[in-house]
């Protein structure tokens, strides 16, 4: 099996999908000849032609708005938003339109489409090339939100997302694009949406995480193990619809939970996990449910290493709930 980086896996996933289904097409800013600013779409125009992989004018509203119309008329668009930070001009199209089309038409019209977008910090991108906006979308019924953390999952989840009958926001952790590598099967396979991945098993503390934070948590968990604290590390992978039962089972297993994400804390995605625990299995909790997150500030540039949760912060939280 070839070893690919996460971004190569995305690229491979797109190619596999476009080869087997000619209704799949890819478009967005600079995704054509340039191959995307991160090269996720490299080679697609050459292989599939300009009608199936092309650049658009600079309008996220136009990109996602037209994708909805394509999807409603039989195509399977996979559009790219260059940075998640720039998705907001299309917020209306996503929240009011893609997410609600099936509901408001009783299924007469639907929007099976994928919006790929790199998110998160770690590349010195400052306020507008670093944000993690998953909570904005996970609060939106009708949408699916997927975030891979490994090369294998990136391809498998992407293929599942493209084949899914509902609109999927596919957020790619840009910090892992080239740092995350793994064996990736050739050809077609899928990883089911709405399933969790147990990254590491352990009986003492459960740590929930996703995307760019997974390797950080893995390192912290390894350190914790040196002190005899065994962590159950869960990669959520699909944030919406979430496998809630799986989350509750994993939380109950240890009774001590930590949730890690790089987005701001206040009303962040971690709040939902915590609230779910407090609502359903509080009686099993033997410690406060801790969140390790970005701060409730815009994303700073020079000091991003302080902003982003690191191994030390995660380990602190693990130790704290383990010893509580």
């Amino acid at each position: 099996m070839p070893t690919l980086t996460l971004i190569q896996a995305v690229n491979d996933g797109l190619k596999v999908s476009m080869r087997q289904d000619e209704s799949v097409l890819v478009f967005g800013e600079d995704v054509g000849p340039k191959g995307g600013v991160f090269l996720a779409t490299e080679g697609l125009t050459a292989e599939f032609g300009k009608a199936r992989c092309f650049d658009t004018p600079l309008s996220e509203d136009g990109i996602i708005g037209t994708a909805i119309g394509m999807a409603a008329n039989g195509l399977r668009p996979v559009c790219e938003i260059q940075f998640q930070d720039f998705i907001f001009p299309a917020f209306d199209q996503i929240v009011s339109e893609a997410a609600k089309l099936r509901y408001r038409s009783g299924g007469q019209y639907t929007a099976p489409m994928v919006i790929r977008t790199p998110y998160g910090g770690g590349i010195r991108g400052g306020l507008y090339h670093s944000q993690s906006g998953e909570a904005y979308f996970a609060h939106t019924a009708g949408l699916k939100v997927v975030i891979p953390s490994t090369a294998y999952d990136a391809k498998g989840l992407l293929l599942a997302a493209i084949e899914d009958p509902d609109p999927v926001l596919f957020m790619e952790p840009k910090a892992l694009y080239r740092h995350e590598k793994g064996e990736v099967p050739e050809g077609h396979y899928t990883v089911d949406l709405s399933t969790l991945r147990t990254v590491r098993e352990g009986d003492n503390v459960t740590v929930f995480c996703y995307g760019s934070m997974v390797p950080v948590v893995e390192k912290a968990a390894a350190k914790a193990a040196e002190q005899g604290i065994q962590c159950e590390v869960v990669d959520l992978r699909t944030l919406l619809p979430l496998d809630e039962q799986g989350v509750l089972d994993a939380a109950r297993k240890t009774g001590r939970c930590v949730i890690v994400h790089e987005a701001p804390r206040f009303c962040g995605y971690g709040a939902e996990i915590s609230a779910m625990i407090a609502e359903n299995i509080i009686e099993y909790m033997e410690a406060p449910v801790r969140r390790v997150t970005g701060f409730d500030t815009p994303f700073p540039n020079t000091l991003e290493h302080h902003y982003l949760p690191d191994e030390r912060r995660v380990l602190d939280a693990i130790e704290e709930v383990a010893r509580y």
Binding site: G69, M70, R104
Partner: protein
């Protein structure tokens, strides 16, 4: 490029129903169908206003005055074309054979409504006999969607066109800008139909923009713009036919400004007397599109008082019986809150649905029906 907006909107039916040198391409049958559809729009509109005033439906949107835009445009298109209508486009559906009762199911928000009463009234969605795209309240969002739908036609090599209908206010929306820009670059087979009816709720069209009319906005996108008399059903038919021909030939989109007038309030929630000048309203009453068309038909010998009574009675009969049927159709069942959010019901919605179902049964609420949560 040199752009000129027509000093006068293009029109066909002149004074006293005369068409001057213009050729009429619609058959007699089609002409009658246009006229009768306009009467049906008017009946549907009238009945809905009354249903709303008597509290039997919650809301409606007056369509009076804009019937020629809707019907003229619809008559120029095929059933295989794709319509992206606005909430003020009753006539497009009716012309192509959507039965008033189908629309009434939506007005009453009952269980036979395509959307199962989830949307407000006038937010129709049909797939048969025409693709009449699910209407959304946010203004302008459907415009880039129409361009996307057209891209699918292009990619499959089909010669269908897409009609996107919107108001003068809609030209200020974000969707207008991205849609026209993308359509210009993609040479999309789309007809952008801007119905300039004088108002966006209480904002007059000349405060909506400082441009010289709306057709000229096409110049910003390399999209030809034409201005048409929107109260002249034959002018509308011809302009849309030409735009459709261009589109089918692969020559790209057209922006049509139809100059017309909203003869009622914005909606049943609006009191236009606060801001619409009485004189303007009276002026436009003179230009009534139904009257205008009637004059043409009379000249052609196709209209009589008797026919009018017959057609009008038939329209009212259809609409009223539709209303009656829709009103007596059962409401949506409780589970329709939870279905159609996704293709498959996810865990959390199942739990929420079950809880809602149990509560409703405990309260003795009929919406829940009997038995267990059925999803």
């Amino acid at each position: 490029m040199q752009i000129e907006t027509a000093p006068e909107p293009f029109s066909v039916i002149g004074a006293n129903g005369d068409v001057g040198g213009h050729k009429v391409t619609l058959s007699d049958e089609e002409l009658i169908q246009c006229y009768r559809t306009m009467l049906t729009v008017r009946a549907f509109d009238d009945v809905c206003m009354k249903l709303q005033r008597s509290g039997r439906i919650g809301f409606s949107v007056p369509n009076k005055g804009v019937e020629a835009c809707q019907v003229g445009a619809a008559s120029a298109l095929r059933q295989s074309d794709f319509f992206f209508p606005s909430y003020r486009d009753f006539g497009m559906a009716l012309y192509h054979g959507v039965h008033p009762v189908e629309m009434m199911h939506n007005m009453f928000g009952n269980n036979l409504d395509a959307a199962r009463g989830r949307q407000m009234p006038v937010h129709f969605s049909f797939t048969d006999p025409i693709k009449y795209f699910s209407i959304s309240s946010p203004i302008g969002t459907h415009l880039p969607q129409a361009v996307g739908a057209a891209y699918a036609h292009q990619m499959r090599g089909e010669d269908n066109v897409t009609l996107a209908s919107f108001g003068d206010g809609g030209t200020s929306s974000l969707g207008f800008h991205s849609a026209l820009n993308f359509a210009g670059v993609w040479k999309s087979p789309v007809i952008f139909l801007c119905q300039n009816n004088g108002w966006a709720i209480s904002c007059p069209s000349d405060e909506q923009t400082a441009s010289d009319g709306f057709a000229i906005k096409g110049a910003a996108y390399g999209v030809p713009g034409v201005t048409v008399d929107g109260n002249d059903v034959l002018a509308m038919h011809q302009a849309v036919s030409e735009a459709a021909d261009r589109a089918r030939r692969g020559e790209g989109p057209t922006l049509i400004e139809a100059v017309t007038y909203r003869m009622g309030g914005h909606s049943t929630s609006d009191d236009p007397s606060k801001y619409v000048p009485k004189e303007t309203l009276e002026e436009w009453a003179e230009k009534d599109p139904v009257k205008r068309f009637r004059e043409f038909l009379t000249v052609r010998g196709m209209w009589t008082e008797e026919l009018e009574s017959e057609w009008s009675a038939a329209a009212y009969e259809q609409v009223n019986s539709g209303a009656k049927e829709a009103e007596s159709t059962e409401g949506p069942r409780l589970e329709t809150i939870f279905s159609d959010v996704y293709a498959e019901l996810p865990q959390h919605l199942r739990r929420q649905g079950e809880a809602a179902f149990d509560l409703a049964k405990r309260k003795g609420d009929a919406d829940a029906g009997g038995g267990a949560f059925p999803l």
